[in-house]
Symmetry: C2
DNA sequence: CCTTGACCTTCCAGTTACTGGAAGGATTAA
DNA sequence: TTAATCCTTCCAGTAACTGGAAGGTCAAGG
C-alpha cells in the first residue's frame, strides 16, 4: 500500500511516516514507480512506534524497542529496563512540574489582577521578597 | 562588567547570555573594544529572565513579562493573565504525565523482566491485548 | 617588547521530532 | 487531454540553547 493509505490506517501524518523512513526507523520497500510500498509488517511497526511515542518514549528508545519487538530471542528484562527508566523520568518530570506549579501558585494567588501596577508575580520574579524586612 | 562576570554573578552560562542578546531579550551596551558591557539594570533583567525561565515560562513569555517588569504603568491583571495561562499549561502537563505513568505502569508491572522473551510491554505496544479472548 | 593565558568576539552546526511548503513526476477519472 | 490527486525530494523552521572553530584583546611576567 502507498504511504497515503498507511497514513490513514494508522492516523499518522504521511510526513511523519516519511520522517521515520529518513531516520531508518521504519523503512518500506519501493514500488517500480518509486512510491513507498508498505506491507502489513511495516504497518505493524508503525503502530508499535506510534504507541511507544504516545507513551512518551523517545524515538531512540523506539528504535531499541522495535528491535526487541522483532527479536524472538529477546529477554523481557531488556524491555523492562527501558520502560522502567522511562517511568522514572516521567515520575521525575511530574515531581518537577508539581514544584513549579506550587511555586507559581504562591506568586499568582496574592496578585490582585487589577489595573494597578503592584504585582507580587513581578516582585517574585525580580527577586524582591514580599515580607517587609523590619 | 564583561559577560564573564555577569555570567558568574548570575550562575548563567555566557553562551546563554549571548543568546539572550541575539534574540534581543537582554541587550547590553558595548565597550570601546567591542566587549559586551553589562550594568546593574542588565543584570537585574538577566535575573528576572532566569527566574521566569526556571518557572517554565517560555522565552516569549519572558519577553512580555520583562516589558511589564519595566513598565511602571502596567496593570497587574496583564501579568496575572500570563501566569495563569502558564499555570493551566503546567496542570495540563501534569495530568498528561500522570496518565502516561499509569498506563506505562500497567504494562511494566506484569512484566517478569527475566531472560525469556514473553513480554507484556512489547505485547501492549504491539496492540496485542493480554486477555484471552474466549 | 614579547609572549602566554585568560577572556572576548562572531559564525556555523547540532540537538528533538517533526511540520510546512515548493517544485515537479505519476496515476486516475472524465 | 486535462484536471485533480497522489506521490517524490529538498529546504527551511520550530525552542532554547550548546559546542566548537577561528581569531581579536588584555593583563601579567620575563
Amino acid at each position: 500500500m502507498n504511504i497515503g493509505e498507511a497514513a490513514e490506517q494508522r492516523g499518522l501524518p504521511a510526513k511523519t511516516i516519511r520522517y521515520y523512513e529518513e531516520i531508518k526507523l521504519v523503512v518500506p520497500a519501493r514500488s517500480e514507480n518509486g512510491y513507498r510500498a508498505y506491507d502489513g509488517r511495516d504497518v505493524n511497526k508503525l503502530q508499535f512506534v506510534q504507541r511507544a511515542r504516545s507513551l512518551g518514549f523517545s524515538v531512540d528508545d523506539c528504535r531499541t524497542l522495535l528491535s526487541l519487538y522483532e527479536d524472538k530471542h529477546r529477554a523481557s528484562a531488556d524491555v523492562k529496563a527501558i520502560a522502567e527508566d522511562h517511568l522514572t523520568e516521567i515520575e521525575a518530570k511530574i515531581t518537577e512540574l508539581r514544584t513549579l506549579r506550587d511555586t507559581l501558585k504562591h506568586l499568582v494567588d496574592p496578585c490582585l489582577g487589577d489595573a494597578r501596577p503592584e504585582c507580587p508575580i513581578i516582585d517574585g520574579l525580580a527577586g524582591r521578597t514580599k515580607g517587609g524586612g523590619k
